[in-house]
Symmetry: C2
Subunit: 380 residues, 2 copies
């Protein structure tokens, strides 16, 4: 396989080890940790062209390019990262990591707890978005990056980007927040609860100690993913993609055992694929971090007070049919930024694809993103 | 306890036995069956004032009044049925039954299969809405009702009401369709699939033979209900009812084991209550009947062609924040009825409560419903 011309090509994950304990928001300490990350493009001499990609719920470090010649699919944000793409690797040095708590190589529930010699499992400390931000700041130190040109994220990644703007106001020039929210709604919380209950009630979850017991809560994790997946897609996107098309059987047949709708078989497939590649304790940890994220909580629940600590400029993007983090949530961010007198650009992109749109090559989305990043890259 | 003045008071369920086999849409026969039902009000001498209530997914025959002096809660549609209420029992003879396949007394998966002497369980024949309609027609015969003044239903009940208008055009004068749809969307199908998978993957489901094995798929059924429940409420309703209020712990605490949002505890409670009172095989059967309902399928997928077989008048009601069966779905019904030259009254009711609104005392809803039913009752 030859990579397409606008691909970053073959990339190799790297690992950074941090021996200093990291004090977490919960008050506990992570004694040591590793972060797996990838970089695309070259760091310039002034070290001023670095951008950080923060991943969403089920994301990881592999955002662009391929891991081998045989790799069939590129990284999860390959539409947006590469030569000539919105995050242009001819211009930027892109850093993409797997967060702590993750299950793709960074220290997380499936790693060994140095104090016990056994997997952390459910005893891995609970994390907040700010813990990720702090660990990412250490990665910046490690890479010699004093100030990011931009910190960029979609969904839960956008929440980390916003938290960056408050925790380290002098360490980023731009904050790019895509399809995110300042906090979850009751409905968001409800869906996360169903997802977690699906995992927790799977007997193979074994209260989180499945790794030691050599079981896998595959059914629970698959169900959790199915619920999540519905919320990533819009009603229209599902209608366009599947409608009421049948995968097998006919509706003239009475016996339901033989009748299956495409959308149902698709969801089950997505669920089972996911459960083979993701860790259940990580899923629980990530959804809890989402639940607890509340940008303005410690600023008297006043987002304007929160954002008045920020020093960077903002790009906020939402998608019209996103019902997980709807455009209304983005407008709340924008309104608070304006009231806090922060420079902000906002685009609400007409798209049928729901929350998933942030991963897809929607022309106006890519154009807006590209134009903004071009300005970022041209700054002195 | 004294019943309120506008209550039908204490009611006693009755049972009708049908010895004649019922041929089902799937081609199989139900050799015999019982229907449990309640009636409120008096049948007039002309037998012209009878109305039929068709229940929704988790409904049953107990729609109004109380079963005993100690009963704390009235029937599920007590807001709409009673003296002076929209379905005025001073005027109408109201019949409310538990459908076959149900789990509240009518023949269903937990009944004994006469051929084996054991519970039907998962071998109970699959049902379509039309099977319910046919069994309800036999109940009408049994009660000596040639023509209903109205057949009324919300949600899946509305689908049965519409099917009545096509299967027995001369046996109803009015068809009242509340918060329903002519068929499910891909998103509806997807949620039903998640609910079923939750049940099917519960080891205690035992492929549906839990009754014989003396297990109960309580976790799976609770999860299914949690998913369903989210779709019954609007995002706004959940926000108003719960917001991000905490039930225990504080967000300053890091440890998530002690932090719980109200909405999460509420959902879990709803799930566990439901799983103690509903049958899993019935839930699967009912959601499949919903999935397969497609009013116009056998009329070349042309709803106008379908409704041109109807002879009755229609009242269609939707609720602005209902995202399970949105107002758009009701407008499709109304458009088809107009094109088919059927008399139709339509009201889209502003309500925050989502799909659940059809069960709630929303003044304009009750007013519209009441006014329409008054006209029905005054017909010669």
């Amino acid at each position: 396989m030859n990579s397409p011309a606008d691909s970053v090509g073959i990339v190799t994950p790297q690992v950074a080890r941090f021996g200093q304990p990291l004090t977490l928001a919960c008050g506990r300490e992570l004694p040591e940790y590793e972060l797996v990350y990838e970089t695309y493009g070259e760091l310039n001499a002034q070290r001023s062209n670095a951008v950080l990609i923060c991943h969403a719920l089920s994301g990881h470090h592999h955002a662009a390019g391929y891991h081998s010649e045989e790799d069939k699919r590129p990284g999860w944000w390959d539409e947006c990262i590469g030569p000539g793409k919105p995050i242009d690797t001819n211009r930027f040095f892109v850093v993409s990591l797997n967060n702590i708590g993750g299950c793709h190589g960074s220290t997380g529930p499936s790693s060994t707890n140095p104090e016990t010699g056994r997997p952390w499992g459910p005893d891995f400390p609970p994390l907040r978005a700010r813990d990720w931000v702090h660990s990412q700041a250490r990665l910046a130190d490690y890479l010699g990056i004093e100030c990011w040109a931009a910190v960029i994220g979609g969904s839960l990644g956008g929440m980390q980007a916003m938290r960056w703007s408050l925790e380290y106001p002098d360490r980023l020039r731009h904050c790019i927040v895509i399809a995110a929210a300042m906090k979850l709604t009751a409905q968001n919380l409800a869906f996360n609860e169903v997802a977690r209950q699906a995992i927790l009630s799977d007997p193979d979850f074994a209260e989180g100690y499945y790794q030691e017991r050599d079981t896998l809560p595959a059914q629970g994790l698959a169900l959790a993913r199915m619920v999540g997946h519905i919320t990533y897609l819009s009603d229209d996107a599902m209608a366009n993609k599947f409608g009421r098309d049948l995968r097998s059987g006919t509706l003239e047949q009475g016996d339901e055992g033989q009748v299956e709708f495409q959308v149902q078989s698709y969801l089950r497939y997505q669920g089972s694929q996911f459960s083979g590649s993701f860790d259940a304790n990580t899923y629980i940890l990530m959804t809890r971090a989402l639940d607890y994220f509340d940008l303005a909580r410690e600023y008297d629940n006043d987002p304007v007070a929160a954002f008045s600590h920020a020093r960077c400029s903002f790009l906020v993007i939402s998608f019209t049919t996103d019902w997980r983090f709807s455009p209304e949530r983005s407008r709340e961010i924008v309104d608070a930024l304006i009231a806090a007198d922060r420079p902000v650009t906002y685009a609400d992109i007409a798209a049928d694809e729901g929350h998933d749109a942030f991963l897809l090559p929607i022309p106006r989305y890519l154009d807006v993103f590209h134009a903004y990043m071009k300005r970022v890259g041209e700054e002195p």
